[in-house]
Subunit: 362 residues, 2 copies
Amino acid sequence: MTASQFLDLPSPYTLRRGGSLHGARLAYETWGTLNASASNAILILTGLSPSAHAASSTADPQQGWWEAMLGKGKAIDSERWFVICVNSLGSCKGSTGPASINPESGRVYRLDFPELTLEDVAESARHVLEHLGIKRLAGLIGPSMGGMSALAFAVMFPGVAQNLVLISTAPYSLPFATAIRSLQRESIRRDPNWNGGNYADSHWPEQGFRTARKLGMISYRSAAEWRDRFGRKRLNTRPEQPFEREFEIEAYLEAQADRFVGSFDPNSYLYLSRAMDWFDLSDHGGAVEIALARMQARRALVIGVSTDILFPIEQQREIAEGLRNGGTVVDYFPLPSIQGHDAFLVDFERFSPLVGNFLGSL
Amino acid sequence: MTASQFLDLPSPYTLRRGGSLHGARLAYETWGTLNASASNAILILTGLSPSAHAASSTADPQQGWWEAMLGKGKAIDSERWFVICVNSLGSCKGSTGPASINPESGRVYRLDFPELTLEDVAESARHVLEHLGIKRLAGLIGPSMGGMSALAFAVMFPGVAQNLVLISTAPYSLPFATAIRSLQRESIRRDPNWNGGNYADSHWPEQGFRTARKLGMISYRSAAEWRDRFGRKRLNTRPEQPFEREFEIEAYLEAQADRFVGSFDPNSYLYLSRAMDWFDLSDHGGAVEIALARMQARRALVIGVSTDILFPIEQQREIAEGLRNGGTVVDYFPLPSIQGHDAFLVDFERFSPLVGNFLGSL
């Protein structure tokens, strides 16, 4: 059972770097009711891996990836707002991506999928709004990669998003983040099963993908959290083979890899990961400051986390200051959450009131 | 041409976890002259990968890995001190390790090399001192893994090292560091060429080792350094294949991997990396504080770097405070170097005067 709805994008659909898609579609979900003036819409753009299923609904009672934040009476209150969450173009959770069938060849796209940017992710999401009769967004919310897509949206369609909620994101990828993503992509590509992207369903590049996920977890959490949570705790079992895992932290990474592998398409991962490294807000106007000053948002909530090594707090400050310089009223909260980049997925005690108060004050 | 000298360890040589070696030896180098009372000796224990060739000498004029720090008139002044640097047991730079021939079988040890700890690295280095007629060390210097080995030495042989210089090291591995090392080891082990440790000389697990080295570099440097140094600079060439490198940071990691692969034995890497994760000073007396209080050093210089994510500044403070509680007079310097863990190998402007002044004041 899914609550996903699908929007057919114009065909052909031309992407920013020149490629085009035929018969492409986007998966999205909605919560709440659009009011008569279509003035209560909030769009959520997601991080790299989530689907459009941000929260449960009558149509799909399964817990969503932001269940604690979205629903009746929650921070993103579906009694007041009409909330839309779009699965990114290029993903594999219903929207067209490298794992979709290319109607021109009748075969899975794989690396024939055209080069994808976060501007394409943002621009395609705009079509969902048009389809729903929404000209302006009361709010545009983007955590992590979703925040980069939201920044792309805001600079390409100035004034459409009246209020922004940008969480643990970046106006461009820094070399430390690129180094990690590059190594993740390399791990996938070097897996013999990857086979230039032409892996069989029975032979996914599982090992490389596991390494990529583990490296991801190392960059998503913080040393301080793991110190508290795992310390030097050992597993009860001794390794059967030399150099196998002995510490709880190692079993944790293994379990995270178990959960992820098989649930996300490795080629989709490559495309979206690269899109993040390509993203640079200064492509829009020559400088990050210029781009941020163009967005014409009334207000913005910018939240960052001091222990985030992937989207560091300095980048949140840069976003907040740039928006302010452009005349947006900005609430900026650098949080001391211990969970690093992933804090927005776990530290609801801090995130929930901040987002709830901001949206409540609109 | 090498300046290495070799010491035959007692045979059999029993290791802490029960295994033993036959006909094992250690490679070491010396600089300066031991005085008549053998009271001017300084021992350097190294990080994971360096050889005993810390600096050039008449016997070997090649630049050493700590050339800027060691020599006549330098911070570690070979005109005053008799300096010894030992290649760690288990390494592949002259000392016996997994890449050495096992005299019992006539074949390379590989994974038949016994389980190795940093206590073994420390204890074996003690034999070099005995051989040279040195009962006490004026100074014991250990950066990174060498600092862990130095702490092991100091707690096993209280009072032998009269003064300690501990740089960017740790009294035990934290889970963040273990996560990175575990993933590095896994990358090597998952390379099909690793073959359970039995790789042919013509087929090293090069790809896995490259990934391990790149991950190492990500943890050795800092995001701030890379931001200044690389920013978003792109390479002049476009990638020939999709997802190949485009940014200078990616080429930098590649060059680092090029330099490392072929120069260090992957099995040695596994053994020493695991030894770091196993290391826990609290094994000596039940608590880190107790162990530190036992060392009976007169003075200690403890240096850490605020941007070090692998051996974080908190661990340097923990060492400094523990030594102080044991009666050692401690100079503690948390440095703002931008180069992260590797600062001791590059930021000589800061490190050189601190080490020089400390040793000069003895």
